[in-house]
């Protein structure tokens, strides 16, 4: 038995026989042709190009419907590469003048192109070499009528081991018999990993030597939960993983059955469960989720890659489409949190690159210095609320003082009045709330709560500011700790202050999807959670399995504890008790 440690790219456990994917070297069956065969060889290339184009078209459509526009764009880039005149010219020239076979001509051309890309130092541009090889491989596969695509030749459920897997290979995995895969290279955010996640195939990447250590036919376990590859496991390990696999399958089957069920704890305590939404990566599967509504629409993307700020009309169209997408269920739109790591391309007044951007001019601070941006966004959102019966909520990011809230409230009232003068009124009252992520706002919340209709706790930044830890700095990243006593106590204080005034509180940071922390958040009496679509049913299932009374006891005990370790132990213990 050999265990390799890599990067967990897509969750789940797969067990089965190994199939090794042949490497980047194309099997060139025939190197040269006779001069009389040139015409036929050129004809072969044209036919293969036509066929490949058809495949890419189909692939683009499939990706568009399952994975959203971001990945579909990748496929249209592949189409352009295929039709690139320099590819065509080079290949036909090699056939005509050097009398290379079609396969060899493509192979040599690709190698020449790859060599040029290898010279590039910027890793971002260097990566594109993969896209070119991907297209080239498809082309070669379509050249030879006899040579069936390798993946299609796998006849029984197998685990694919490859040095590197191209996005187009990955897209076709599901239709073939591949039930899991692992690669030597790649990271968690590589295209291949992201595609694996959306296809629900367990995957481990970055294993360095997997393709050398594995022989075709070896029994493998791909542990996509922990990023492990087990080669030829012993009896005990195999039995253990089969048990884990059964449990995961049970949970997955269960998840599908709870879509239409209410979000309540085992003892009937109800919370709202919203979904964070990004229109750029929406999928069919996401659309099937029955949710309480949209809990967080980040709007920064509207301001990126554009030479001018988005106009009221442009924004209105987007918000209208979002409200329709959510079938008029509640939608919460956050005013653009520009600044920090999200800088627009157009110039802004009084804006210089900050030394310390996360504590600099971002969120509402930036909007108050550029009131035109704020008014335009408020108008666009309220205009949408005048048109459709969705319950619309507007969230202010990076609030630290009551003065900021008052400024936005005044602007908000002014915009409402403008619409009133035109004889327009929101169908449902529009709520104005704040994202609580600055500790000062949490501590002095009682001074501003009367101006707010709701609160949302942005735990990612709140924790970062509370413990003064930059998550990107590797020296201190481990100190970013959701179990720190200060985190639970601050969340508690926010919820208590809000509830005294009858206002609701939601959480929209990553900890909302952390099922281990869920009992603590429920016990602190959180009213709503907003999570990514991928985690939605998992979180819902967990809420439905816990006991609210127990959660309350757990939270009360945690609030009295003075160290992360105690709190973590308490949570772990509770988790185990529930499992048994």
């Amino acid at each position: 038995m050999l265990v390799l440690k890599g990067v967990a790219a897509s969750p789940g456990v797969a067990i089965g026989p190994a199939v090794l994917l042949p490497g980047e070297s194309f099997a060139v069956t025939r190197q040269y042709i006779e001069p009389g065969e040139v015409k036929a060889e050129l004809q072969k290339i044209r036919a293969a190009m036509q066929k490949t184009l058809g495949e890419l078209d189909a692939c683009e459509q499939k990706v568009l419907s399952t994975l959203g526009t971001e990945y579909a764009n990748l496929m249209s880039t592949h189409k352009l590469i295929l039709q690139d005149p320099s590819l065509k010219d080079s290949v036909s020239k090699k056939i005509r003048t050097e009398h290379l076979s079609a396969q060899a001509a493509i192979f040599v051309t690709l190698q020449e192109l790859a060599a040029s890309f290898d010279k590039i130092e910027d890793p971002f541009f260097k990566e594109r070499r993969n896209d070119i090889f991907d297209v080239g491989k498809r082309l070669v596969n379509n050249l030879d009528g006899d040579k069936r695509e390798f993946l299609a030749s796998i006849t029984k459920p197998s685990l694919l081991v490859a040095h590197n897997l191209y996005p187009s290979d990955t897209i076709n995995l599901q239709e073939n018999q591949v039930i899991g895969f692992c690669t030597d290279v790649g990271g968690k955010t590589s295209h291949t990993a992201l595609l694996a996640q959306s296809l629900n195939i367990p995957a481990v990447v970055g294993l360095s030597t997997a393709s050398k250590d594995v022989q075709s036919g070896d029994t493998l376990i791909i542990d996509g939960e922990n990023g492990l590859l087990v080669i030829n496991p012993d009896k005990y390990t195999l039995a253990n993983y089969r048990k884990i696999q059964r449990e995961i399958k049970k949970t997955e089957a269960l998840l599908k059955t709870i879509n239409h069920l209410p979000v309540i704890t085992e003892d009937g305590h109800a919370v709202k469960l919203f979904v964070n939404y990004d229109p750029r990566t929406d999928t069919k599967e996401n659309k099937r989720l029955i949710t309480d509504g949209l809990g967080l629409l980040r709007t920064e993307f509207l301001y990126m890659n554009t030479p001018h700020p988005p106009t009221e009309d442009e924004q209105y169209q987007v918000y209208l489409a979002v409200a329709k997408r959510f079938d008029m269920r509640p939608v919460t739109i956050r005013l653009a949190d520009l600044g920090a790591d999200k800088l627009p391309d157009f110039p802004l007044d009084e804006f210089d690159q900050d030394e310390n951007p996360f504590m600099g001019c971002r969120g509402i601070r930036l909007f108050l210095k550029n009131p035109d941006l704020m008014f335009t966004q408020l108008r666009a959102i309220i205009r949408m609320a005048c048109e459709v019966p969705a319950q619309v909520k507007i969230m202010i990011p990076m609030v630290s003082s009551v003065e900021e809230v008052r400024h936005v409230r005044n602007a908000f009232d002014q915009v409402l009045k403008e619409f009133e003068l035109q004889g327009k009124k929101p169908v449902n009252r529009v709520g104005l709330g704040a994202m609580i992520e600055v500790p000062a706002a949490a501590i002095a919340l009682d001074g501003m709560i009367h101006l707010l209709d709701f609160l949302s706790i942005g735990t990612n930044d709140l924790i970062q500011y509370l413990v003064a830890v930059d998550r990107v700095n590797q020296e201190v990243a481990h100190m970013y700790d959701p179990c720190h006593p200060a985190v639970g106590r601050t969340i508690n204080q926010i919820i208590q202050t809000a509830h005294k005034r009858g206002k609701k509180v939601s959480i929209c940071g990553e900890i909302a999807s952390d099922v281990k922390l869920l009992p603590l958040l429920l016990g602190l009496d959180i009213d709503a959670l907003s999570v990514t679509p991928r985690m939605y049913l998992r979180v819902k299932n967990h809420i439905r399995s816990v006991n609210y009374e127990n959660c309350s006891d757990l939270a009360q005990a945690a609030l009295l504890m003075g160290s992360s370790e105690e709190i973590r132990n308490l949570i772990e213990q509770n988790d185990k008790n529930e499992d048994s």
């Binding site: 880039t77 352009l80 005149p85 320099s86 590819l87 040029s116 993307f301 987007v318």
Partner: protein
């Protein structure tokens, strides 16, 4: 023949999508269109060529168009850069 210098002002530089837009736009014109950067010259109608320039934010390119519709072609490509390859969402 037209020659002009273009500065790259979109933050991500000439990554796949802008390269695709340049190649598609260039293909609409009959004139010969070349882009060059640091002694590397490529055909603007070739997406791979354009990507190969590895042109990042802040760098400068030279655009050369030669043919009957060179004026229109140069203007159309210049506009792509100016609009920062106005990406859809």
């Amino acid at each position: 023949m037209i020659q002009q210098d273009i500065k790259i002002i979109n933050r991500l530089g000439l990554h796949a999508r802008p390269a695709a837009m340049i190649a598609q736009t260039a293909a609409q014109f009959s004139c010969d269109i070349q882009l060059s950067k640091d002694q590397v010259q490529v055909n603007a109608k070739s997406i791979m060529g354009v990507m190969m320039l590895a042109a990042e934010f802040g760098s400068s390119l030279r655009l050369t168009a030669d043919g009957s519709d060179e004026k229109e072609a140069a203007a159309a490509i210049q506009k792509l850069f100016e609009d920062k390859f106005n990406e859809e969402f």
